[in-house]
């Protein structure tokens, strides 16, 4: 008798969130990125649809770290000191779907760049690249509460993705999103309950849940990747099960976590048993990215430009293209 593949029927689906606004949408983007919409578990095309391919964003730091790992520095080149040029490299040469501009230099301990400087950089970035922008704070609550409303303001109408709102600090950034028409990243410390709580708090503050993208702080390969995968899987299952407070698309910070690992950073001379440095970090990041795709991540934020290329190939295969 013919075999009938048992197919799961899901009550819910992942929300659809679009970032970027084209000219007729009130912005100046050449393209938009639509996230989410899945009606089944990741890449199980026989029992669900994935209407929107997971997107790949390149992270650009407004001030590069003091010790940029050599293979990464080599891959990016001199433009590492020029965020705008760095972003253009990512888009024009490597085809990044979006740019994540992180204001690490604004952190009081790391340069303390002013909100005005950050706003100016944002304007320049918007003018330079046609893809949607993710604008990410420096990580220090008080500074971000000064800086994010400013950068949000100069980007008004462009439908950016602002990061992040956490359970201890969400009001200011939520207000900025509401005022300037952006989307919001809600952050949780790898805890599914806290993720839900932040979504409720943000929603209580007036932002519709359809404007939220979730972010669970993760670790890379060897540093908590599996736990992150479990959280992502549980989140997807909750969304498919109909939990509206966990139905938002998921974002993952891959590059910033992976390149902290010694396995990615250590030069070959110091650890010859680990093999060629060029490939190591690249593989570390690609593998982490792939794992997160299987977990159900809709937007990956990557560092090494080649990872974008490799991950795109993997995605092509997973999407059956």
């Amino acid at each position: 008798m013919p075999f009938e593949m048992p197919v799961e029927k899901w009550a819910g689906a992942v929300n659809t969130v679009t970032i970027g606004a084209t000219r007729d949408q009130g912005g100046t983007r050449g393209s938009t990125v639509t996230l989410g919409g899945s009606t089944g578990l990741p890449f199980l095309h026989f029992e669900g649809k994935t209407p929107n391919r997971p997107a790949l964003a390149l992270e650009v730091l407004d001030t590069p770290p003091a010790e940029m790992p050599a293979p990464l520095a080599a891959a990016i080149g001199d433009v590492v000191n020029d965020p705008v040029a760095w972003a253009r490299l990512g888009v024009e040469k490597y085809g990044a779907d979006a740019i994540c501009l992180r204001f690490t230099g604004a952190h009081p301990d790391r340069g303390n760049r002013s909100p005005e400087e950050c706003a100016a950089l944002t304007k320049a970035m918007l003018a330079a690249v046609p893809v949607p922008l993710i604008l990410w704070g420096c990580g220090q609550a008080d500074k971000d509460n000064d800086l994010m409303p400013r950068v949000s303001e100069v980007a008004a109408g462009e439908n950016c993705l602002l990061g992040t709102a956490s359970q201890d600090n969400y009001k200011t950034i939520t207000a900025a999103c509401l005022a300037d028409g952006h989307k919001l990243i809600t952050e949780a410390p790898l805890d599914i309950n806290i993720q839900k709580q932040v979504n409720i708090l943000v929603s209580d503050a007036g932002l519709d849940t359809s404007r939220i993208v979730m972010f669970q702080v993760t670790g890379g390969l060897g540093y908590g990747m599996e736990y992150a995968y479990s959280i992502m899987e549980r989140t997807r299952l909750a969304a498919l099960g109909g939990d509206r407070m966990l139905s938002m698309p998921l974002l993952a910070q891959v590059g910033s976590e992976v390149w902290k690992a010694k396995e990615a950073r250590t030069p070959e001379e110091t650890a010859p048993q680990w093999g060629p440095a060029e490939a190591r970090g690249l593989l570390w990041e690609t593998l982490t990215a792939t794992c997160f795709l299987h977990g159900g991540t809709d937007l990956l934020v990557l560092w090494h430009p080649q990872v974008i290329v490799q991950t795109r190939k993997i995605l092509d295969a997973l999407m059956g293209a």
């Binding site: 359970q167 201890d168 805890d191 599914i192 309950n193 806290i194 839900k196 709580q197 409720i200 708090l201 209580d204």
Partner: protein, 631 residues
């Protein structure tokens, strides 16, 4: 080693203390109770005292536990730092409980002085008299062993397997025997064996027993009339062990630190009970020998510490105490200053963290008596709870922490005169009305007051569901404090002291405590495949008494969202259970049965507990659909 003189004000008590000792130990030596929730580790900030100095203020505020003595000093102990008398939480919940085979009773006998009995020993004559009292026998043989058995048979429906005469009784009997006539015999029940512990001329004085609730924070002692079968008076005091730590774990840790620690803790508990006994007996002119029975309930650690049993096993995996169920002991062996051979019945416990106070509470609350699915929660430091349906019971301890007893909170206090136990906030008029226990000037806020405060602030929008104060809330009551915010509940200017505030740290502390209770309840129910909605009765015991508002308890997610008529607030059920044990043999047997039937769940090992706990750290809960009536 040099010694210095420390003078404590306002008492004016002086004590000699060795250089290097702390002010806290000097206060203890002077007999002054100083709050020390963390056991003297310098963490809780409750032992603040004022040392007279030449500075502008005239004094310097220091932590008593961290300040070594370096010279003579005059130290003022502020009111807030004192271990004061506890609020008398004891209510007589024994109403309607009839006396039946009590733990001890006075039996009237006629000691024959004539006929063939005259030449027999006093002891034999007494036993025969006990036997003849019922006029059950036409003839009695003179074998002492037979007499014992006959006396037992004659007495109260064959309660006792045999009756023996204690030395104390024999000593009292000897001078009375020659006279004969009517005597009063004090007869005690030692787990089914009868003991005559005293003999006295027939007088008008009654027989008395004491019920002791040995709580971690508050000790309640009640004096019971064992003839009328009711509570005559009760007295509550703060457990003096508090100076060694606010919770059972810190006290167990203390026993591991010093050789003398176990004895210190035992003495502290006995002192507290002794103080209560004095307060009860003196006004009635009763002597210690008049108290011929004691029923003692307490959590497992409290019992171990009182009896001088090493409690170390309680807090180490697999969390097994040294003993769960004790035989009835003699008072002088325990160290209680009542009749030396009086029976001390200790309610049996279930596990390391669910003790005899809970079995006694379950008995008194009638939690196991009916076919209704019942949840019993003791809302104290240890947060024990029992789910019962008829003869099937499970229990756990969720370790809520002392927040509901006011510990660890800026203005927290246990329930005592001056504690605010209720709040109402009118957001439009920005007025806060409150009620204090005893109507006295507020000295702080107790557990039920905090529950009201959280619920009111959440309703008004002054705090978000995470417990964060809204800095933009349109009221001057919201103001910056250290690096966060606080809400002024009571303006100091209205009551002649400092403002009474609620800070964000306090709120987090309270949310953690309520989350522990709620997640304990849901984990226990889930382990049994039950839903909270299936609970037909929720019985709440503890120092809240009648001042806990069910709507507010649900609004903050402390209790499941159930129809309010299913929620019942009882008082001190542990104490009520102790009273029952004094009055009735079947109560004592029921306690043994309950302790054996209750199955303990160790929450820390149940998977999913942590997850439930984190999702309960929200007002009322991360899953808002669980609380439809308040969201």
């Amino acid at each position: 080693m040099s010694t210095h003189t420390i003078t404590f004000l306002p008492e004016g008590v002086t004590v000699a203390a060795a250089a290097g000792d702390t002010l806290l130990s000097a206060a203890t030596a002077a007999g002054i109770g100083l709050r020390a929730a963390c056991g003297g580790k310098g963490v809780c900030g409750k032992c603040v005292v004022r040392v007279a100095s030449s500075g502008s203020a005239g004094y310097e505020e220091v932590l008593g536990c961290q300040t070594p003595i370096t010279g003579d000093a005059v130290v003022t102990i502020p009111e807030e730092s004192r271990l004061a008398d506890g609020h008398a939480l004891a209510e007589d919940l024994t109403g309607g409980v009839a006396l039946e085979a009590p733990l001890a009773e006075g039996v009237s006998v006629e000691l024959p002085t004539e006929g063939e009995w005259y030449r027999e020993t006093a002891a034999e004559r007494l036993l025969a008299a006990l036997a003849l009292q019922r006029e059950r026998f036409s003839e009695v043989t003179l074998e002492l062993t037979a007499l014992r058995a006959l006396a037992a048979l004659a007495l109260q429906r064959e309660r006792f397997s045999e009756v023996t005469l204690e030395l104390t009784a024999l000593r009292a009997l000897a001078p009375l025997a020659r006279e004969g006539g009517r005597l009063r015999v004090a007869l005690a029940d030692f787990d089914g064996a009868g003991r005559v512990i005293g003999v006295a001329p027939e007088t008008a004085t009654g027989t008395y027993g004491v019920a002791v609730d040995l709580g971690t924070t508050t000790v309640v002692v009640g004096l019971m009339d064992l003839v009328a079968g009711k509570v005559l008076a009760s007295h509550a005091e703060l457990n003096a062990q508090g100076r060694y730590g606010a919770d059972v774990i810190s006290r167990i840790v203390y026993t591991q630190e010093r050789e003398e620690a176990r004895e210190e803790l035992r003495a502290a508990a006995l002192d507290t009970i002794e103080n209560c006994l004095f307060e009860l007996l003196a006004p009635l002119g009763l002597s210690r020998e008049d108290v011929i029975a004691a029923a003692l309930v307490g959590n497992t650690t409290m019992i171990h510490l009182l009896l001088g049993i090493d409690p170390a096993g309680i807090r180490r995996d697999p969390y097994v105490p040294a003993v769960r169920s004790l035989p009835t002991l003699a008072a002088e062996d325990v160290g209680l200053a009542i009749h030396p051979r009086a029976p001390v019945f200790v309610a049996p416990g279930v596990s390391s963290y669910v003790g005899g106070d809970i079995t006694a509470g379950v008995l008194a609350a009638g939690a196991a008596a009916t076919a209704e699915l019942t949840l019993f929660v003791d809302l104290g430091t240890n947060g024990e709870m029992v789910v019962a349906k008829g003869d099937w019971l499970v229990c756990c301890s969720c370790s809520a922490g002392p927040a509901f007893e006011g510990s660890g909170l800026d203005h927290g206090t246990y329930a005592r005169p001056g504690a605010i136990d209720a709040f109402r906030y009118d957001a439009e008029a920005d007025t806060m009305t409150f009620h204090t226990i005893g109507g006295a000037t507020p000295v702080g806020i107790c557990g039920s007051g905090y529950i009201d405060a959280l619920a009111e602030l959440l309703r008004a929008g002054a705090i978000d569901r995470r417990g964060r104060i809204n800095p933009e809330f349109p009221s001057p009551r919201v103001r910056a404090h250290e690096e966060r915010y606080e809400f002024v509940l009571v303006w100091g200017r209205e009551i002649g002291r400092d403002d009474i505030t609620l800070g964000e740290d306090d709120i987090q502390n309270l949310i953690r405590a309520k989350a522990a209770v709620y997640s304990g309840v849901t984990t226990l129910l889930d382990s049994l495949d039950l839903q909270p909605s299936q609970l037909e009765r929720v019985l709440l015991a503890g120092g809240f008494g009648h001042s806990l508002h069910p709507d507010n308890a649900v609004a903050i997610g402390l209790l499941p969202d159930l129809p309010r008529e299913r929620l019942h607030f009882l008082g001190n059920t542990a104490f009520a259970g102790a009273c029952r044990a004094l009055l009735r043999r079947d109560a004592r047997l029921d306690l043994q049965w309950l302790a054996r039937r209750m199955t303990n769940f160790e929450l820390s090992t149940v998977p999913g507990y942590m997850d439930r706990y984190v999702s309960s750290l929200f007002l009322p809960h991360t899953d808002l659909s669980l609380f439809p009536s308040v969201t």
